[in-house]
């Protein structure tokens, strides 16, 4: 396999909880991302799934250098991302772009589509000379399936799906190599969602993109991802290629997630085993000792509170899974 384009090691992001107005003192830490490691290879899609509050969006922010990390390293093409500054940082920003979830708030309502999609060229004028920009923007609109004549329109004149296409065109403008997609289709209706997912797939083939695809919808992630990482309370609990995660999940959290997804087939009603989790996700400001999932885990034993299970493959799991009692369990209906 080729060298990874993005390599993340022990990435940690804690947010301080402060008290006091004048003399702020830190009284705790929110452990948003707590030791995440993975590799992303060129042309590959890594899906990141998890429930709200598991740290998947913070991970995106840190990867984009929108938030400084607490510790850990990220290398992009073999170079330390957090060591970059000045011209090197600016040059790197061309290579990595982000598509955000909410197509309503992520576009400036007072700018035309032409301005929004063309703004990257203002910041990086070396990519497109001034006279060429309009044509470039129109090309981009066409690539994402919008009418190039709509370049003077404003975001409110477009539907949700079309706005998400505008956001994708903006991310594509500088011909990045990696795009971080943070819940890009969650706000869309199902028929429009399918259109945007197909678009993302086509763009990947056309431009050889790598995606970090963050979503909570397990069906969407399976559809687009080569490999999948499952996050719980700031940690990756299981990672592997798509098939091994969906067909041979060994972590009880992954199994519970998969079994909770309603299957659009009434003939399976009542025949499917659903692993019900009790209670809520603990606060990331005070995560449980040992295994973080133990408070909701049906398999939890004494060792789970004492020792944190490492994310490794073992006899019972052909891919890394952070559980003392990892074992394969068939949770999806056999097709």
């Amino acid at each position: 396999m080729s060298d990874p384009i993005l390599s993340v090691r022990d990435l940690v992001k804690h947010f301080p909880i402060t008290q006091g107005v004048l003399f702020k003192k830190t009284i705790g830490q929110v452990h948003a991302v707590d030791g995440v490691s993975f590799d992303l290879h060129p042309g590959e899609t890594l899906g990141v799934v998890g429930e709200s509050g598991c740290g998947k969006s913070t991970l995106a922010q840190v990867l984009m250098r929108l938030e400084p990390p607490t510790s850990g390293t990220v290398t992009f093409d073999g170079e330390d991302l957090f060591a970059k500054s000045g011209a090197a940082l600016k040059a790197w920003r061309r290579d990595m772009q982000i598509v955000l979830q909410d197509p309503y708030t992520s576009l400036n309502p007072r700018k035309t589509v032409g301005d929004i999609v063309g703004e990257p060229f203002e910041i990086h004028p070396e990519v497109a000379p001034k006279g060429d920009r309009r044509r470039k923007v129109q090309e981009l609109l066409e690539v994402v399936g919008l009418n190039p004549e709509h370049i003077r329109r404003y975001p409110h004149q477009f539907s949700g799906g079309q706005r998400q296409r505008i956001g994708i065109a903006r991310a594509l403008a500088l011909r990045p190599r990696v795009i971080v997609c943070d819940e890009p289709v969650s706000a869309l209706d199902v028929s429009i969602q399918a259109q945007v997912m197909n678009l993302l797939g086509e763009l990947q083939t056309e431009f050889g993109l790598s995606y970090v695809f963050i979503a909570h919808d397990l069906g969407v992630v399976r559809h687009l991802s080569d490999r999948v990482a499952v996050m719980y309370l700031g940690k990756i609990v299981e990672i592997g290629d798509s098939e091994s995660i969906y067909e041979r999940a060994t972590h009880p959290y992954t199994q519970a997630l998969l079994s909770s997804v309603p299957v659009p087939d009434p003939s399976l009603r009542g025949k499917r085993e659903v692993i019900r989790l009790t209670g809520d996700v603990p606060s990331p400001a005070d995560p449980p000792s040992g295994c973080r999932f133990r408070t909701r885990c049906p398999k939890a034993e004494a060792i789970c509170a004492e020792q944190e299970p490492p994310l490794v493959a073992g006899e019972s799991s052909d891919h890394p899974s952070a559980c003392h009692f990892a074992e394969v369990r068939q949770v999806l209906p056999v097709a």
Binding site: Q193, V261, R269, L277, D280
Partner: protein, 355 residues
């Protein structure tokens, strides 16, 4: 009225918003019925009119800007659309109740959860403040909120998302309604919590023999709990059948398109078959079949027809919701609003749509 009248009957309901050229026809003749103990799922995308129908049934549609221009809503045979405000107010909570998608904005942030539930007992049942709080705690216990006696004194922001939704369910059940309308009850929740809430709703419906209208856009949720399903598009019901029939052989190209758009957990990568284009603007619904500009089978688009379906009728003649001859359908039958529904019913869900 006679006992034979269904719990709820909506007939040819029509609602408009706005004036003149900007008039949006939001509901264009919606009819459905719900019996006691039954779950009817109303499936549709944003703007299809599923929530407006529910608001009209509950009598909480804002008029203006909305205008009810025709139709009937009958609860156990009693016509509601002409009824006076006081009668409608009494029916709300007592006979029909509703839960909403966003529990945080549906609950009042400055009152405790208990006080908001107890309010109904105090003003509708004349209970004392103390008795009402005891009843509120019992209800929280029934919706499986742990430690209900303490939690009853807490404020909505102290509850997690799933617990707020439980509290809202408790509130809606306070006066033992016979009909519960759940408008996207789990859309804002995580999948593990969604499973808990859907199970709770189904359990409560069975225990109390309530009729339930479940409004959702999630084909998975529908398949798990619905007895019957009504699919809405552009303010009309385009297909209605029992759950098994609808999924096994959908008769309307829109329903088939929806099913082809859903990425499945149990199959890996490949192209999805989305419905092309966008839903129509409700101020300018296309003539003929409102779905024809997006329909792969209306052959006027210049493509070779993929079946023997022909297109001109689709452009000019509005297909009405009619009963299909479908031997596999349940006793309630299978209805669809497509000129060529018979041909789709005969095919398997994937067949006709794959070029």
């Amino acid at each position: 009225m006679t006992d034979a009248a269904p719990l709820l009957e909506v007939e040819d309901l029509r609602v408009e918003f706005g004036k003149g050229a900007d008039t949006a026809s939001v509901l264009n003749g919606v009819s459905y019925r719900v019996e006691a103990g039954e779950t009817l799922a109303v499936l549709g995308e944003s703007g299809s009119g599923k929530s407006v129908t529910a608001q009209t049934i509950m009598g909480i549609l804002d008029t203006p800007p909305g205008r009810i221009t025709g139709g009937a809503v009958r609860f156990k045979g009693e016509e509601l659309l002409g009824a006076d405000r006081e009668r409608r107010r009494l029916l709300r909570g007592e006979s029909m109740a509703m839960i909403f998608q966003d529990a945080l904005s549906a609950l009042n942030p400055v009152y405790t959860v208990g006080a908001q539930i107890a309010e109904q007992f105090r003003f509708r049942r004349g209970m004392s403040k103390k008795d009402a709080m005891v009843r509120a705690a019992e209800l929280l216990d029934q919706v499986k909120i742990p430690n209900a006696k303490q939690r009853v004194k807490e404020y909505p922001h102290q509850f997690s998302g799933g617990m707020r939704q439980r509290a809202m369910i408790a509130m809606s059940l306070a006066l033992d309604p016979e009909l519960l309308i759940a408008d996207e009850p789990t859309t804002a929740l995580d999948v593990t919590v969604q499973a808990q809430i859907m199970e709770l709703l189904d359990e409560l419906r069975r225990e109390r023999d309530m009729g339930m209208i479940l409004i959702t856009h999630d084909l998975g949720v529908v398949a798990e709990v619905a007895d019957r399903i009504a699919v809405m598009y552009a303010g009309r019901i385009v297909e209605e059948a029992d759950a098994a029939t609808l999924y096994a052989h959908p008769a309307h190209p829109y329903t088939r398109g929806l099913m082809a758009s859903v990425p499945r957990l149990d199959s890996s990568r490949g192209q999805l078959d989305p419905i092309p284009g966008l839903p129509p603007s409700l101020t300018n619904i296309p003539p003929g079949c409102p779905f024809h500009p997006r329909c792969a089978h209306a052959d006027f688009r210049g493509r070779a027809p993929q079946s023997s379906v022909s297109g001109d009728r689709c452009r000019t003649e509005l297909p009405l919701l009619r009963v299909l001859e479908d031997p596999a359908a349940g006793p309630e039958g299978h209805r669809a609003a497509c000129h060529f529904a018979e041909q789709f019913v005969a095919a398997s869900p994937e067949e006709v749509l794959t070029p």
